[in-house]
Amino acid sequence: MAGSTGSKAASGRDKIKSYNKYGYLFLIPFAVVFVIFQLIPLVQTIYYSFFENYRSGLKMIGPNFIGLENYKTLFQSGDFLIYFKNTMIMWVLGFVPQILVSLLLAAWFTDVSLRLKGQRFFKTVIYLPNLIMASAFSMLFFTLFGDIGPINSILVSLGLISGPYKFMSHVWSVRGLVALMNFLMWFGNTTILLMAGMMGIDKSLFEAAEVDGATSGQIFRKVTLPLLKPIFIYVLITSLIGGLQMFDVPQILTNGSGDPNRTSMTLVMYLNKHLFSKNYGMAGALSVILLIITGILSLIVFRATMKDED
């Protein structure tokens, strides 16, 4: 510290140089923690993916180097593709309504001519599910949609169904519930992101379109949507990356089984299973593939937002 206060005799340039070494100093905590808790684990994960290393009964097998054998098993058993498909189906089912509703809401909230009242109230409400503990939220859905739960009791008493519907035993009701929860948890967030994008658009463009006689629908399609493309790509890809990590909701809803018949088992649920059964080789291979997919998707985001900067 003595160096930074400096003697008056030191030239300005030396002073700046001595300040700048603090740049490195202030980076140390981040660097140390990153290396220990992220970089080493990442390298180890990749390393383990090339080894035969699993638990059989009470004995640990390996680690024995087997090259790409784990990757082969992962694809040949077909499990990876099944779980990838499940993950994507549940993501799409949630994302499509999410982006449509969010676009509509963002357009309404930013439309000055509508003068919507209670905007703060509505924004507060639609963002609320995002902060709820996902595991508790899906436990709640599990009890609400249970065979003797309140939803069935309401539907029966309204005369909509004759007997309780077994939500947890049908493929599309389980996937639908997962998608519904993802939709509820994320559409508020997406709305707020899209709103920020829409408010960033030059107001004079709207006025010019209005003067030219464009309807609000035309303005939305021809002016708002094209200008929203970068933020749209950001929302799409980050949601896809989040979707690939889908875990808490289907894990708790189905108690980790992915039932019925593994149709709601996601990739990370599969990873979690391997980690718990100490099947490290396979867990490593699965992690590396997830990393590669995420990396490619991130690169697209990076490109899209960087173009925006220019």
Binding site: L27, Y47, L104, R120, G213, I231, Q245
Partner: protein, 282 residues
Amino acid sequence: MNKKYKNTVGPRRAAAYIVLIILTFFCLIWFYVLFINTTQSNSALKYGFTAVPGNYLFKNMYNLFHGPTPVLQGMLNSFIIAALSAVLCTYFSTMTAYAIHAYSFKGKKAIFTFILAIMMIPTQVTALGFIRLMNTMRLNDSFIPLIIPSIAAPITFFYMKQYMDSNLPGSLIEAARIDGAGEFRIFNSIVIPLMKPAIAVQGIFTFVASWNNYFIPNLILSDKMKKTLPIMIAELRGSDWKTFDMGQVYAMITFAIFPVIIVYLILSKYIIGGVTAGGVKE
């Protein structure tokens, strides 16, 4: 203004309100049913759903606290981990952002790009190496692996960096240097107070993310008295819940969800404002 355009405002406004009210209903109904059911006795719950609250709220809460799951300990564990994560994450992310913002040194640009590049790596893909390393370091069943990693948080760093770009004038730092303040003092007594709004927003987000986190804590913690709330909820789902007092099950979900709802309602203004300022250029 075009006449045709003006005429559509009324119906469009009506449509907007209808859709918003429907969405509000779908966002809140679950929590309403949860609250109602937490106030019912187990026998009343078996009978079916009623729209009016019962008088079993305190009885259910009492049973929950005296039940086999140490929920109060779970909440305390969750709170300690989330609060320490929030403090460390915001303080050190501000420090990292300040290093990039206020100083010029060799490799600065490369470091900045690198931190942005690792932003998207999900914790799940490093989980295998992470839990094995924690086992080797004998840190399994400890809170340290759940707290310390928050020091290196690229997303918080990026938010802080952006906030500094528009809210931290270089002249202020210069003035402090001329007054003879050391670099650490400048950071702690000038930069940190100026960053308070950003620290508050990111502190809330880090707290909530940690509070809700299930994947990693579930792999690290196995001692019953060290488990966090999400793990306890998952265990409740895994146990033979059909034999349970359902009033208690609802009470436990309420216990996990409502503290966050209450805090959110108090702080919602800052939270919603903070959503956008993160990753996206406005």
